[in-house]
């Protein structure tokens, strides 16, 4: 893996505070834990407000923080370079560009080139997600030489999702970051507890079900070589692969499941069982539980 310096500032705490206000102020111990976890998975700085600083005092040790009143924020869209007020460039503060939601519609490589020409590549790039392109555009900024990006966990508040940046930089760009991705499920659990909201189960990197697999073609491929149908090893993000038996299962998956359930089957009965699995799964509109698979086995073996 390549070593490259990338600075990620995560503003999950600021956004949580803005959205939930008093509600999360009752959860200070959990917030302190969340800060530690977000830092441990790979964020370089945790952004806080002065108000949060007071509420969270004493802050967790060993974590680096950024106060957001030290920033010069410039908000804009694809035409940001045409609308820069020159005086703003001479203010002695760190510059953060916020927005650029729509640059996916345009020549974003050229836009990044122009931004670098004016500000250099050492500014905070905070791309928002109105058009679903925040991760893609933040990654393109990093590819263009950008050194700093701003994120929130699960993209809360419409920002670039932290876990997607960590995953993309680590698995696609093969750049080694210091974070421990295995803790993603732990961050998710705490995040859901704090927000009292459940994250979608297929959300990239943090969804609970993203490494469930049912399709016969995919199970076959994965048994031979997981990278046939998996973009990265699930264990790298603290998850395990789970084979689901259902309408789209094939014989190989059924055999694996029967072995797992310690059922001795005859190969000749597998196709009948599979037919039954498909019927029941379609009827129930879901994958099947272990007990249901056992019942199908009994029925197809004339043991019921």
């Amino acid at each position: 893996m390549m070593e490259r310096k990338l600075e990620i500032t995560d503003k999950t705490l600021v956004v949580l505070d803005a959205i939930y206000g008093d509600k999360i102020r009752k959860k200070i111990p959990q917030l302190r834990e969340l800060i530690k976890l977000i830092y441990t998975i790979g964020s370089n700085y945790i952004e806080i407000t002065e108000d949060l600083y007071k509420a969270l005092y004493p802050l967790p040790e060993g974590v680096r923080f950024k106060l957001n009143n030290k920033l010069m924020e410039i908000t804009g869209n694809y035409n940001i370079c045409e609308n820069i007020i020159k005086e703003s460039l001479y203010i002695n503060k760190n510059i953060r560009i916020i927005g650029l939601d729509d640059i996916i519609f345009y020549d974003y490589e050229k836009i990044f080139f122009n931004i670098k020409k004016i500000f250099g590549n050492n500014i905070d790039m905070c791309i928002k997600n109105e058009y679903g392109a925040a991760t893609a555009m933040s990654l393109e900024w990093i590819r263009a030489g950008g050194k700093k990006v701003v994120t929130t966990f699960a993209g809360i508040g419409g920002y670039t999702p932290l876990e997607e940046i960590l995953g993309s930089v680590g698995f696609l760009e093969k750049v080694s970051l210091r974070g421990d991705y295995v803790l993603f499920p732990e961050v998710l659990k705490l995040f859901e507890e704090i927000t009292e909201n459940e994250i979608k189960s297929n959300m990239p990197f943090i969804g609970k079900d993203i490494f469930n697999v049912e399709s016969g073609i995919h199970v076959n491929g994965i048994i031979k070589n997981p990278s046939t149908y998996e973009p990265y090893d699930p264990s790298k993000i603290g998850r395990t692969r789970k084979i689901i038996i259902g309408k789209h299962s094939g014989v190989s998956a059924l055999e694996i499941k029967l072995k797992e359930l310690k059922i001795e089957y005859k190969f000749s009965s597998l196709s009948n069982m599979l037919e039954e699995v498909r019927k029941i799964s379609t009827k129930k509109r879901r994958g099947l539980e272990d007990q249901e698979i056992k019942e199908i086995y009994m029925k197809c073996s004339n043991l019921a």
Partner: protein, 255 residues
Amino acid sequence: MNLQEKFNNDIYIVDTTLRDGEQSAGKAFSIDEKVEIAKYMDENNIYQIEAGIPVMGDLEKECIKRILAGRKKSLISTWNRMNKKDIQHSIDCKPDIIHISVPTSDIQIYSNLGKDKNWVEENLRECVYFAKDKGYEVTIGFEDASRADINYLINLCEIVKTMDVERIRYADTVGILTPTIVKEAIKNIIDSTGIEIEIHAHNDFGMAIPISLEAVKSGAKYVDCTLDGIGERAGNCNLQEFIRISDVFLERNSN
């Protein structure tokens, strides 16, 4: 709500909720639900509905036939692995389009299937001929195209073009594309072959929508989507979101 009327001339949506969407682990639609979803797509001017995989059995075939019987405008396609048995099951359903999925990356051809590129090319020719000979429109899916050698994809395009196939699906099977990579690949294939492209993105890195949009910007005419973005692992390109976003894109583009 009319989902697509505004830009039917510019971007053609292929909805694969009933095929790749349903492949989402643990998900199974009842036949009535599938027929209802297809009806909704049809009423909303979705160009094409990938209705299922006929070789899966009689229930699936019955469902596809019901969808065909009830549709008014959308084209109905069926998904097939590259073998005549699968295609024969599709022909039993009499769809508008027969889609044949072809392994294109080395990992799929050599490691997964234990075959070689000669086998791919021979089978491709035979299968396309088999379906075309019976009068069907055929589209070809390049499975795992994003990990395949681009020159090999161009070679396969040349083969199918001589057999009057006009469209190939560029499938990012494991969801590893980024906008700049898809841009280069789509432009290269179109410049080299002139074939029509259908982009099929997965959301493993949270980029299915920008990848699809960038593919459109680069010349792809068709975009695969699913309702709510359901599909394998982190899912596919989210239909409702893609339409909302591409609508803004097209509006700005027309100014």
